[in-house]
């Protein structure tokens, strides 16, 4: 185990920033989100949950995919993909790190999405263990250990030090880069923190959610469940849950006319929107109940069915905190997940 004195962290960020980009939780107008580090920005590693997940580092909310140029009748496609500068994504919590695995299974599956892949390969991920989980956290339900996330390197934070340990070659390389800031030590402190956090995690209100009914063989039974009507009744279809969700990956592809051609870009979309499945001749999901059901069935049944049982919820609790109508996946799990929820 290695450790870095907290007062040296700003100098460490500057050092990383000399050769790589650095994305790190930064406080701005009272909210904390991942941003490109610059001298003077207020880094907030202590914040448990960034408002948005770090998914936009690999899957930006909008990204240009290609450009079309026309000259007379002729049409030319310009590849706008540029070489991605290496960067470090710093401070990723265990839930958000697991979410990257969930996204990988979509974007890196054949045929590989090269836009996502380029960013993913250019990144070194440093995770940060949680020490003060909140009431809305339930990552443990999905088998995630918030006290020891993986990634290229893992870090732990206490009042005096940031402790760090490399897990991969990329992680080793990063530690070699910052060796002037590190010293040996911290095994006992990290172990003590992990034990303390584990005790808190056990007592969280959603720690014992039962997922046992969410199995591919129950797909049709769950789809037909009469409870969807009541569960979705208050849904406004605002899509907030999908935008703050670290695993939601639905996107739209659109064209934008500019002064010298057409830009085709992709942007986040939401299955909660009425025009998501709208076609010229009709819509396969005409009610908000159907759209609501799609979102949760995808996370808890469809996605696991396609990916060896891996759920596409990581228990980050952002939807619990952000839904304006107080609807969320916890309520769905409690209603439909299994007997032990009663």
């Amino acid at each position: 185990m290695l450790r870095i004195a907290k007062e040296k962290l700003n100098a460490l960020y500057a050092k990383i920033n000399e050769s790589m980009g650095l994305f790190i939780p930064v406080k701005r107008a009272g909210e904390v989100n991942y941003e490109i580090w610059k001298e003077g920005k207020e880094v907030s590693l202590e914040t448990l949950k960034t408002v948005k997940s770090p998914k936009n580092m690999f899957f930006p909310s909008t990204e240009n995919m290609m450009k079309f140029k026309t000259e007379g009748k002729a049409l030319e496609i310009v590849d706008v993909r540029d070489e991605k500068k290496p960067f470090v994504l710093f401070g990723v919590k265990a839930c958000d790190y697991k979410a990257i695995e969930v996204l990988d299974k979509v974007f890196l599956a054949d045929p590989v999405d090269t836009f996502y892949q380029a960013r993913r390969e250019a990144t070194t991920i440093v995770t940060l263990a949680c020490s003060r989980p909140e009431e809305s956290c339930f990552c443990g339900v999905f088998g995630i250990d918030a006290t020891s996330p993986l990634g290229d390197a893992t870090s732990w934070l206490d009042e005096s030090y940031l402790y760090v340990q490399a897990n991969t070659e990329k992680g080793e390389a990063l530690i070699a880069l910052i060796k002037e800031f590190v010293e040996e030590g911290g095994d006992a402190e990290v172990k003590a923190q992990q034990e303390k956090t584990t005790e808190i995690l056990k007592k969280l209100p959603f720690a014992q959610l039962d997922l046992s009914r969410f199995k591919p063989e129950n797909l049709n039974e769950l789809f037909e469940a009469p409870q969807w009507e009541e569960l979705s009744e208050a849904c406004l279809g605002c899509g907030t849950c999908t935008f703050v969700c670290p695993t939601c990956q639905c996107f739209d592809i659109r064209d934008f006319k500019t002064h010298d051609g057409v830009i085709r870009y992709r942007c986040w979309d939401s299955c909660m929107y009425s025009d998501f499945t709208l076609m010229a001749h009709g819509n396969s999901r005409t009610t908000q109940m159907q759209r609501f059901r799609q979102r949760f069935m995808h996370k808890l049944v469809y996605y696991p069915s396609q990916n060896d049982g891996l759920y596409s919820c990581v228990g980050c609790g952002r939807c619990v905190n952000k839904c304006p109508q107080n609807l969320n996946i916890v309520k769905v799990i409690k209603t439909l997940g299994g007997k032990k929820n009663d």
């Binding site: 026309t70 592809i253 064209d255 057409v262 001749h281």
Partner: protein, 275 residues
């Protein structure tokens, strides 16, 4: 350039045939004059007019055609409206092929085949019917039942009359919804006509058309004794990527773009009713 499925190829329209008042068939090749890519019957491609949008269409020409691809497109939305306004020589973009094809080399081989289509539903079937004609000796008897609103709405009417009707061991039955001057053929809806024809239930059947036609025709076939595991159809839902990533076209845990568009009726029975 690194291979990326979402980045299309450029196609040139070399021929436009007006099939019906609202269906045109577009012939497309690459800028070098060669066919853009190979496909199998039932597979689809994303066609776009840059600046307007991109849509999924079934490739209606047979894979045995090595010179070009054809798309039969009905004018019914914002992209198709612009496509219909294009002229020969216009550029479009094409990417694909996407999806699972008809099992022409597996289940269909050596079998008597029944094709039932309604309206523009003939587009995906034309590819497989012409594939079967090309490898005629590999397949048994072929029966085609095709219906449209009127005589003018029958897609590929010329090819049906001059080629399919004269093909060896082919039976072609056409029907239109309402009587019309100049039409001496059958009048009535496809599902009723299928039952009237008293078809041999040992045939392998392929249905394509509006959902309501598929629903009633399937019921009719089951009454005649057809086995659901030997009845195939195609689904269509909104798509953006074509490769199971954009999250739009799923029915339960299947994506129509990559697990479909061709489905066996027994497979559809296992999926939730949301298409």
């Amino acid at each position: 350039m690194i291979e990326e499925t979402l980045i299309p190829k450029i196609g040139v329209i070399t021929d436009i045939r007006k099939d019906t008042p609202d269906v045109k068939t577009f012939r497309v090749v690459g800028t070098d004059g060669a066919k853009l890519f190979e496909h199998m019957p039932g597979q689809c491609a994303m066609v776009s007019v840059p600046g307007v949008g991109e849509c999924m269409f079934s490739i209606t020409s047979s894979p045995t055609n090595k010179e070009y691809m054809e798309f039969s497109i009905k004018k019914c939305g914002c992209v198709t409206e612009v496509l219909h306004a294009l002229e020969v020589g216009a550029y479009v973009t094409v990417r694909g092929p996407y999806g699972r094809n008809f099992p022409v080399e597996e289940d269909f081989k050596g079998k008597d085949l029944l094709f039932i289509a309604g309206g523009i539903g003939l587009a995906p079937l034309r590819s497989v019917i012409n594939y079967v004609r090309h490898y005629r000796e590999n397949y048994g008897k072929v029966v085609i039942v095709y219906g449209a609103r009127s005589m003018d709405d029958l897609v590929d009417f010329d090819e049906i009359k001059t080629e399919w009707m004269n093909e060896k061991n082919f039976e072609v039955y056409l029907t239109i919804d309402r009587p019309q001057e100049g039409w001496d053929g059958h009048v009535g809806f496809v599902p009723a006509y299928v039952k009237e024809l008293g078809l041999d239930p040992n045939m392998t059947a392929v249905l394509c058309g509006p959902p309501i036609m598929i629903k009633f025709t399937l019921a009719g076939l089951l009454e005649l004794g057809f086995d659901k595991s030997r009845v195939f159809t195609t689904l269509e839902l909104r798509m953006k990527c074509g490769v199971g990533k954009c999250g739009r076209c799923n029915v339960g845990d299947k994506f129509v773009c990559k697990d479909g568009p061709v489905f066996r009726m027994t497979e559809l029975d296992e999926l939730p009713d949301e298409y």
